[in-house]
Subunit: 314 residues, 2 copies
């Protein structure tokens, strides 16, 4: 079940026709503000505007013909739901996405525009409803993380930033699929820089788990980082993070919002507030780098309504 | 007085320590929408968030020591004003910027933050006031365009996009310094694609002049493209455009606003409405490209207050 560099290289080949090699740019306007050389990997410019399509596509392409004919199901109101819907449409597979009733119209529309069937449930029941649909219609469940093919797909980002020889790569953390994949790709390729995870301070599931030396569930808690709300590390991902990730830091909501504004007004890039968590960690002083160090921030997604830019009134 | 490829190469060497080699990215999310391969040269991520620093820096660095000690003056409420103020601060030169009383507080603040002295005048009198200041204090006037060193500086953008072998490069046009410089750099380097200018339909100074075979002044008229308001081609720039530019098209305000929204919501890039004029020309159907063609859009600047995003209410 352990994902290796070889798995990630295979995923890269397999998903290449369906994903974008996203831009990796030196964002000079932020250098002085953050006190280091700021590079951004722009997964907000990825198909479906988030990295999730990499893992979902790698998983779905590996289904048997019978599984493809039966259809797939996923539970997500967010970027994973859009990714599964997009991949299914592209490959001619029937997809059902289970969405919590609390999801915004913006996200529901985004999933529907890819032609997926939408089923509503309560937040609590969404995984139960997903399993019931899977049992009833023989749908294959496409999990958002903690699946080797999903992790291998997300890891392809690591291969795309290898050549730049960064001193550190900062990755937003929720279930751990993204950082698990990226850290495997980089460390097994001989990358000598640091890999640092950043998670909301109200949901320190990796920080706590790393401290305790075992997967630790933290209480569900609110955060504006709506893409980073998982409250327990993934089973497959945790040992990978233990092995390859150098550090995991927590970040406040207010710093993330400040970072989102900075990225837009100074960096000229629109991203989800969750994706700004690495920049926020530097703004907050939790992470400090030297002026001559090259730091890569993974900007994981850009799915947001402009109404969500709370700072516009300021 | 004619600017040559050699002048532009010299400018590139001279200004290198002071400017950013801005990102040139394939903006995949726009490919399907525009029906072609969309590349953007992101001068909104340039120092002072606009290309103007290239020309201003090339001009100011070439002043004599006496001229530098006497100080400089420029008339501009926009990107040229910011560029001159930034360059002057960086080089330790006193700068005065003449600003029309109608300028927004956002722009006035942007110029003041670079430490320049600000003098207000009526819109009509601003060039007169600039000359008077020049006469009185021995300030050297740094013109916004129609100066060989300014044109050569702007032309350095052309050198930075040469390697991609584009089928066409689309350039926003006002006085003609940007397109004059870029077209010289490209065509004298053997570039075989098209160079196309785009100007507001209410101010078709280059379209009219090219049709008439001579510099033609058009009536002053309103446009939302506040960086493209010159109403007569530059003396030096017009023959260059005649020689090297393949086509000049006009674009409506509504298409520019639509393009600005598209670039932000789909492309995840924030730019001035003036800089979206090339994308707008494609949206409007004035320019059409094939799906396999590689088209470069010069995103010339990103100086705007978020309050200027008129579409946010939609």
């Amino acid at each position: 079940m352990t994902v290796t560099l070889e798995d990630i290289r295979e995923a890269e080949q397999l998903i290449a026709p369906h994903i974008v090699k996203t831009p990796l740019v030196h964002l000079h306007p932020l250098d002085q503000i953050l006190g280091t050389q700021v590079y951004v990997k722009l997964e907000n410019m990825q198909n479906t505007h988030a990295f999730k399509i990499r893992g979902a596509m790698n998983k779905i392409l590996r289904l048997t013909n019978e599984e493809k004919e039966n259809g797939i199901v996923a539970s997500s109101s967010g970027n994973h739901g859009q990714a599964v819907a997009f991949a299914a449409k592209k490959l001619g597979i029937h997809a059902t996405i289970v969405i919590p009733e609390t999801a915004t119209q913006f996200k529901i529309n985004a999933i529907r525009q890819h032609g997926a069937e939408v089923v509503f449930s309560t937040v609590e029941d969404r995984f139960k409803v997903t399993r019931e649909l899977s049992d009833k219609f023989n749908y294959t469940i496409i999990p958002p993380f903690d699946d080797p093919h999903i992790t291998a797909g997300q890891g392809t980002i690591g291969l795309e930033i290898l050549d730049e020889h960064f001193d550190a790569v900062i990755v937003p953390v929720s279930g751990g699929g993204l950082i698990g994949g990226i850290s495997t790709a980089l460390k097994e390729s001989g990358f000598s820089g640091k890999i640092i995870g950043a998670e909301p301070e109200s949901l320190p599931r990796y920080s706590e788990s790393l401290k305790n030396g075992r997967r630790t569930k933290v209480p569900t808690a609110p955060t504006i980082a709506d893409a980073l709300v998982v409250n327990e590390p993934g089973k497959i991902n945790f040992p990978v993070v233990q092995k390859y990730v150098d550090e995991c830091v927590t970040v406040s909501d207010s710093a993330m919002q400040h970072a989102q504004k900075l990225l837009l007004t100074e960096g000229k890039i629109l991203s989800e507030v969750s994706s700004c968590i690495g920049i926020a960690a530097v703004l907050e002083g939790t992470l400090k780098f030297k002026p001559d160090e090259k730091i890569c921030f993974i900007i994981s997604g850009g799915n947001l309504s402009l109404n969500q830019l709370n700072f516009l009134e300021n």
